[in-house]
Amino acid sequence: MARRSPLRPAGFDELGLRRALADRMLPFLVAAMAFLAALALAGWVGAATLAQHWQRGAGASLTVQVPHPDDPALGAPGTRVDRVLGMLDATPGIAGARTLTAAELQALLRPWLGPGPDPLLRRLPAVVAVRLADPPPGAAALATLGTRLDQAAPGTMVETQGVWIDRLLALARSLQACAGAALLVVAAVAAAVVAVATRAGLSARREAIEIVHGLGATDGFIAARFAGRATVLAAAGGVAGAVAALPVLLALASLAAPFAAGGSGPSAEISAAGLGRSLPGALPVALWLLLPGLPLAAAAIGFTTAQVTVRRWLRRLP
């Protein structure tokens, strides 16, 4: 007979909580919260990843246009473009500078100029692609550089993406903050849901609790019964919510892949074709680490909320 075991029978339900603590509603609501939390987490990770890429990729480069590149430079030997390249190489905070070849320019402009060599090309300004060091020089330093280049080779224009990057970064940071706020709200609502369910359980089992309390059960004993049940139900909800969010996150990740892959060019396009990639590679590592945290967080919220709610309620008993 099972009763002969030396320990208290596993799952023995003194308080009759199995029926009292809503065993469908609570996991369902917690699952909905976990689902929302998963989306918020994805937003948070996604915004962080994009910010990083923008900062590293686009933010780390700028272009310099030199009109009439082959004309001799003012007051110095060599052409105007050589002079600009020389000055760029001598500027701290710049990792490298290189003039785009005619073929590259032509590829860039093909949508406007059509295929084939074009006489217009020869009159175009030279385009110098500049890679910035990490960390990149500040906006003020870049402005000074622009003035100096313009003095050395009048008409030279420095195109920084700095302003745009700053705006995009501000946007990404705001998105992250919103995702964080959403997470907090979701956690608070989950705690409220557990508290309400626990209260309902308390009043449904009030008589049983009073009897068991009268027989000498401690507050800790009674709270542990409720907390155990709430933990299991909340964890189940957390698992269900996280699993339900997974396909949505994978779909979002495949949409975001081209942006997150970094820069442009053929390599980015290949990795963005996502379809052929393995499942683990489809989501950022951070998300794979955070997703299993959802059931754990749900369980922790369930346990803590039930403990606090029950212990508070029990203070009305002598």
């Binding site: 068991v212 507050d219 002598p318």
Partner: protein, 224 residues
Amino acid sequence: MLRFDAVGLHYATGATPGPDVLRDLSFHVPEGAFRWLLGPSGAGKTSLLRLMYLAARPTRGSLHVLGSDIVAAPRRALPGLRLRIGVVFQDFRLLGHLSAFDNVALPLRLAGRGEGQIHADVTEMLRWVGLAARSDAHPAELSGGEQQRVAIARAVIARPALLLADEPTGNLDEAQAERLLLLFRELNRLGTTVVVATHNEHLVARQPAPALRLDHGRLIEGGA
């Protein structure tokens, strides 16, 4: 064992205190004693027992139960005392979702006894109260007298130091009531302090013992 000094009790009705249901009670029940608790309906017998089994604290005076000062004791000190008190409630207070066996086993489980020991003790106790065949029945499936016997079994199963019974024979026939009193007397002989509240004057006549007699919340017999 039980010491009352000028104890008063009133129930709070909402925010305002209700009328005094117990007034100026002073008496002492020594360890190992047997006491009847007598008085007309509404005299305050159940209220007095509630003080003894720590379901209420005095609103006036000082109370010592099992050597502990109940007025001064912190709340967390009470569960340990309750484990040493067995109570037969006037309205039984069985747990409806548990079988007779599990109801009787509850005090032992709360005290952390091993299941092997629990099984032996509870089976023996249920046989003693004549419910061996009904050990899997739930309270709703039992007659009033059977429920009362389950409540009695639960009260004595853990060999409490203090046994309090509120009208424990109300649903029993004469023979069963007789047997029950024999059990209480036996436990009392083994050292348990026993207080039994009853209206049943026959019972009292057959088992002469000192009495605490209440009337309108005052002690009119057995005071210190």
